[in-house]
């Protein structure tokens, strides 16, 4: 197991390097010059501009620039936000907890929907329940998150007036009321993301369980006289979860995409909405850093999936 963990950890390194190369290539290929504004400003003489370029090493070879940039990123020196006038890492550390909270709760919600529904549908394939669940899952992942968000706002905020549609970080209430207010305002973003994820996962869980439930060892378990519930929960689900874990990890990039959209709709102050506002404000250091953070989060979740994978199926870690 330890050797397996070590191998998985070592695979992370080329992934981080690969992603950083992709990011830096995009940045290096992009037209435009960070000192473009200075070039059009008549008050700044040409030699000052050349001096600035030399100071920041803009005329160095690409490889040198890449290593300097990567070194700085690794040390947490992510630059200075043009728009907010503070260090980028401070800005991101302020915003990241909300994003992780929303993504984490929505993943839990998605699994809470997908596991029972998928397993139940697969134990009764082609029944009425299965067909309804399948149709709802199809509708669920065909509804884009931005449209679900708008429909939720229309229904719960405007028509019924139950929930606030703007996420506020500065809630004045204290004690239990504070938690209740936070719960209320997080409900819609989490539901939008969780239902979308849940719909996609339900189909995966169903087909994974269907693959397993016909195997001989399940028949053996039934023949031993185990209760159906024990057969499904202890024998079927654990093995069926193995491909599902991979799929959850593969879905992570899409989840982050959905998180950006939901944060933008409900104005949640996370790193997704930070990315959008940075793009609208031409704040390149923040854009690069947020994209880098998203990439690292994806790698992190993939690593977590691999570790869970090894725990679910010990054969893998000894291979």
């Amino acid at each position: 197991m330890n050797q397996y963990l070590l191998r998985r950890l070592l695979i992370v390194i080329p992934s981080v390097i690969g992603i950083s190369v992709v990011l830096f290539t995009v940045l290096a290929l992009a037209p435009g010059d960070p000192f473009e504004e200075l070039a059009t400003n008549p008050n700044i003489p040409a030699e000052v501009r050349a001096g600035l370029r030399a100071k920041f090493g803009l005329d160095d070879p690409v490889a040198t620039r890449y290593f300097r940039w990567f070194g700085a990123m690794m040390q947490g020196d992510w630059g200075f936000s043009f728009a907010s006038r503070i260090d980028v890492d401070t800005l991101i550390w302020q915003r990241i907890p909300v994003t992780l909270l929303i993504i984490g709760s929505s993943q839990i919600l998605a699994l809470l929907i997908a596991l029972p529904v998928g397993v139940y549908a697969a134990t009764r394939p082609y029944s009425i329940f299965d067909q309804i669940a399948n149709t709802l899952a199809f509708i669920g992942f065909s509804l884009p998150t931005f449209f679900t968000g708008i429909l939720f706002i229309l229904l719960f905020s405007i028509t019924l007036g139950w929930l606030p549609f703007v996420y506020r970080a500065d809630i004045a209430a204290t004690g239990w009321l504070w938690y209740w207010e936070h719960f209320k305002q997080a409900l819609m973003p989490v539901a939008v993301l969780g239902l979308f994820q849940g719909a996609a996962l339900t189909r995966y869980v169903r087909s994974a369980v269907l693959d397993v439930i016909r195997l001989d060892y399940v028949t053996t378990a039934r023949a031993k006289g185990l209760a159906e519930r024990a057969v499904v929960v202890k024998h079927v689900v654990r093995n069926a979860l193995i491909p599902v874990v991979t799929l959850v990890a593969l879905q992570m990039p899409a989840v982050f995409g959905g998180a950006i959209v939901t944060e933008q709709i409900f104005r949640v102050p996370g790193i997704g909405s930070l990315l959008i506002s940075a793009i609208l404000a031409n704040d390149t250091p923040v854009i690069m850093a947020v994209t880098f953070v998203f990439s690292c989060l994806v790698i992190l979740f993939n690593l977590a999936a691999d570790i869970i994978y090894g725990w679910l199926d010990p054969r893998i870690s000894y291979r």
Partner: protein, 311 residues
């Protein structure tokens, strides 16, 4: 006695199920028809395509005629889908935007399928380090966060392309290329898996023994047999690309305001939800209906073309 009783049912069965001249495509169509929702999806999709192609010829109100006296109206005879905050006719804008949304979906799908097929075919035909390197690249692209990168690339490159080929074409090329460029990985993996099994089959071996060059083996023998899953994946990709484009436009970072794609109309509508709900619901429903139809068509195509993988 036994012979006579046995012979007649077999004879009649042979009579009923005489192999009609059923090509694989006719067989696939028969299976597709049995999936009723897929058939309904295909019909709806056909209607949507017909509407956005021919609709602007029949409904000739301009998409950008500003009329403040008729702003934010609900559906009426003059404006069947209502108007937006500048009094522009929503039906005309929806029809025009649908053309772009569908065109982006199709073009991005073509890019994804072509790139994916080439990468998958090369990886599947070559063994060893080339295969490993290409699969590593595929895995790397799969773990990239797509939306942030899409936004980053569009932010960095849109200015230059706009200057090069004009605003609308520039953004179109960029969005199609970037969406297609981030969606080829599943196709590549599918094609590679198909190639790995197909290239060991007897008919490919026979072609090889007859002296067919590797290129001919791929194009004439392996690729046609690997096409089924690729068509299914390509169909789903159209839906994903339409959602991706709408998402970009919805974030206000896709097409410019004067190009009313469905996502863009939704973006403009989202600040007027409380008094003009129809404005947001109409483009959203159009996206939803189109994507749902495409997904069902994809599901039906899977039943029709990929019979081994029925879930």
């Amino acid at each position: 006695m036994a012979g006579s009783t046995l012979a007649s049912p077999i004879a009649s069965v042979a009579g009923v199920f005489r192999p009609r001249s059923s090509s694989p495509w006719a067989e696939a169509w028969r299976r597709f028809r049995r999936h009723r929702l897929a058939l309904a999806g295909a019909v709806i999709l056909g209607l949507v395509a017909l509407a956005v192609l021919l609709g602007p010829l029949a409904w000739q109100l301009p998409i950008n005629e500003i009329d403040f006296s008729a702003k934010l109206q609900g559906p009426s005879w003059k404006h069947p889908l209502g108007t937006d905050d500048l009094g522009q006719d929503l039906l005309a804008r929806m029809l025009y935007g649908g053309r772009i949304s569908l065109a982006v979906g199709l073009a991005a799908m073509v890019i994804a399928v072509v790139v994916g097929t080439i990468v998958g075919a090369i990886a599947g035909m070559s063994r060893g380090s080339v295969d490993a390197a290409l699969m590593w690249l595929t895995e790397l692209f799969l773990s990239l966060p797509q939306l942030p990168l899409l936004l980053l690339i569009i932010y960095l490159f849109s200015g230059a392309l706009k200057a090069l080929v004009g605003v609308e074409t520039g953004i179109f090329i960029l969005i199609v290329a970037v969406i297609g460029g981030f969606r080829w990985m599943p196709v590549a993996r599918l094609v590679r898996a198909q190639f790995l099994s197909l290239r060991e089959k007897e008919f490919v071996e026979a072609a090889r023994a007859l002296g067919a060059s590797p290129a001919r083996q791929v194009v004439r023998h392996i690729l046609p047999n690997a096409l089924g899953p690729v068509i299914v994946a390509g169909t789903i990709d159209v839906a994903a690309a339409i959602i991706a484009e709408s998402t970009l436009s919805f974030l206000g970072l896709g097409f410019p305001p004067d190009v009313p794609t469905w996502g863009r109309i939704l973006y403009d509508a989202k600040d007027h939800l409380d008094f003009a709900a129809h404005w947001a619901v109409i483009p959203g429903s159009a996206i939803f209906l189109t994507v749902l139809s495409i997904n069902y068509v994809g599901d039906g195509l899977r039943d029709a073309l990929d019979p081994r993988k029925v879930i």
